[in-house]
Amino acid sequence: MAVKKEAHHKYRVVGTRPIRPDGIEKVTGRALYGADYYFPGMLFGKILRSPYAHARIKSIKFDKALKLPGVRAIVTADDLPEADRKPQQMGEQQVSPYYLSCNVLARGKVLYDGHPVAAVAATSPHIAEEALRLIEVDYEPLEPVMTADEAMKPGAPILIDDLRNQEEGPDQPTNVATHLQFKRGDLAAGFDAADCVIEREFRTATVHQGYIEPHASVGIWNPDGHATVYTCTQGSFTVRTLATKVLGMPEGNLKVVPSEIGGGFGGKTTIYCEPIALLLAKKTGHPVKVTMSRSEVLRATGPTSGIHERVKIGVTKEGRITAAQVWMAYEAGAFPGSPMAPGAMTVITSYDIPNLLIDGYDVVVNRPKTCAYRAPGATAAAFGVETVLDELAEQIGIDPLDLRIMNGAHEGTQQPFGPVFKRIGFIETCEALKASEHYNSKLTGANRGRGVAAGFWFNAGFQSSASVYVNQDGTASVVTGSVDIGGSRASMAMIAAEVLGLPIDEVRPVVADTDSIGYTDVTAGSRVTFATGMAVYNAAQDVVRQLKERAAKMWECTPDDVEFDNGVLRTRGDVLQPQQLTLKELAARFIRTGGPVVGRASVSTGGAGAGPAFAAICVDVEVDPDTGKVQILRVTIAQDVGTAIHPSYVEGQLQGGTAQGIGWALNEEYVYDSKGVLRNTGLLDYRMPTCLDLPAIETILVEVPNPTHPLGVRGVGEVSIVPPPAAIANAIYRATGVRMRELPMSPPRLMKALQEHRNSREGQAAAGR
């Protein structure tokens, strides 16, 4: 893997590739994930789900189910307090506790196939399942609304009776929760100044994060009202906030213990099983484990939105973009809250464009409530823009990467929603891809084509806490509240080791529960290595400060007279008699110099201080003209990663996001029947890429340090998913002459497009004869 060295030559640990400290437990099967907890007397919970996409619940009868031997309790929405309707800031997200509660257990209406209606606790999972079949729910089916287009039509069936938006006013029931607009310059004048204007329409499908670990939680309720939940989540503090709001209990009464997490990609940033496990535990007095099956995961957790997008862009013949207009409607699922806003904030932000108009709509439909998915909103949005840019580059006869470089955002460019970019590496990223061996290689053979595309994603800041403890043997432990989803323990240990001058295997990283560390936001938004890493850096510096004080006390000087370098404390030679002490030697004397050394820090980093990331990708494909199947022959991704703390895990983020983007491009989609029932509820039919579908994924790490982070770290986790769908569409065009504007570009859809293309060519040929 190519690494462009810019940053880490000055570091000792940062930039190396040690074995991750939690790795041994994960290759031996000892690591405990969400479903791996067992407690004495534990019961098993199962959830009854709606078979209808849209229906009123007239009654729920569960007497028969309760009589089944082994059944201990049944809960419905009646067991939850009616939550506050007003949206509140909960962790990083604006959430209406009422909608959240209605999604945990349906109240009055079911709004999607799989919507939870009741839950059972029993002595075995099989008994709990039998009990579900004995619960009688009387539904009044209503007409389902499955797409944003249908939901926005006048007279469409209304999902949520009291939903209103500002434009339509307080008296107009609607399915449109929000309309967001960004404007800049004079759009009409911008298009007038263009030599070439292209306007196209795009559609993308609902897709799921596809983490391999289904959701699982164990609830334990104490008679004093304090409770504990073991759960696989990206944010233990977020679970604490959300679950206590839904359950109507004081936030401090719930301890959330994060298990190891088997993937999340944004999908484990809200609550599903947690309040149900707690409610059943409260009702039975036993620990209760609630696990989802795969079909429950697909039917009823949060995938990301399908969107409808219109893109219009104008360029001069020299390649300068003069104006861009984007209109997007996002399917939020059953409750408001699609990633429309981040979609609108990222859709064309990679480019410096004088005249802009971006409109975004958040629309409720009878699908599961969407949740975050890696660079939420950005991938679907970029599909349209990056495809139109490819067409424009072709029209004016310019290299598609040059078009991006020529118009690329750089330090000082204002983003469509206001903030001005600090030092970023978009242009460097495109240039690195353009200089790659892959882009300069020859692609030969029939039905083959090469495509490129780029993408942008933010780096969320938010809040993090960290503690660093120095042990009396001179080793250290680093405690954070950030769930480790992809190797972040290694990065945290490396950052502390770098500051303290310790070897990496003498620093032990710990992910603590909500009672054992300060508040820390979710592992999401590419923020852990950036923000929690900053907290760890500061906590380690706090240790260094205290070590200097201890040494100064022993040497009868001031802390300012003590230097710390690579684990050794020294008096500054110019002022004093030379003295020297290693961290280890000093640690052995903690007992006589004031007790253990505890470093701590917390940060609240605004988004503005964070380091956004850009990616550009080059894909070679071969299209089977008889089946429409697309084979990825070669793929290279370049990304502006800031300082790569552990390059292997940074590469892993680029590779994993690319693979997900390829799945999104080629196969993955939710398939609903005419009644709104999901038909592909398993991993055979919800087709994610296997290792046979993919080639090696080549990475180029472009290290442009983030000036706002002490080590130059940027968020690296998400942006790699953004460019693949457009790059593949562009490659398919070069292979076949067909422009695909709907995802996924699955064999049947591509076959149909190829057939139409052949027919129209034959038609033209016939007309020409």
Binding site: R20, V27, D36, R294, Q660, M688
Partner: protein, 157 residues
């Protein structure tokens, strides 16, 4: 409640007697009855490979086999892959190559890869990708997994 049946089997070279219901899958028996939670559940339909174990040396999705069918067979699970304190070369290579991110698919991949290397000690990249296609990983894009398996084969070959 369904009547429980006595099953005599061998797990990781240890004879094991256990009681299970006929309706319990082998995966369920390993996890819920024996608390051997290294074998993971990802789908329960044989599509993801997270629950892969070896039955008489062959890779099997333990979610597709009943517990009672383990009678008289030799099972190998992730818990038995290392020999005492010594990691299996595949385990070591997965760590060295950073082949896992979340790690939930790792036990299944290691067992499938072991079955492959037991059968084909020096596979090509294409053979590795073919034989591991029944295991889904959503984090890594497979690149570093394939490299680790090839490297393990190279080292032990």
């Amino acid at each position: 409640m369904a009547k429980r049946t006595l099953v005599e089997t061998v797990i990781n070279n240890e004879p094991v007697e256990l009681l299970c219901e006929p309706r319990q899958s082998l995966l369920e028996v390993l996890r819920d009855e024996l608390h051997m939670t290294g074998t993971k559940e990802g789908c329960l339909t044989g599509d993801c490979g997270a629950c892969t174990i070896l039955v008489d040396g062959r890779p099997v999705c333990s979610c597709l086999m009943l517990g009672v069918e383990a009678q008289g067979h030799k099972l190998e699970t992730i818990e038995g892959l290392a020999t005492g304190a010594e990691l299996h070369p595949l385990q070591r290579k997965f760590l060295e190559h950073a082949s896992l991110q979340c790690g939930i698919c790792t036990p299944g991949f290691l067992m499938s890869a072991k079955a492959l290397l037991d059968k084909i000690p020096r596979p090509t990249e294409a053979e590795v990708r073919y034989h591991l296609a029944g295991n889904l990983c959503r984090c890594t894009g497979y690149d570093k997994i394939v490299r680790a398996v090839l490297d393990a084969a190279r080292e032990s070959g």
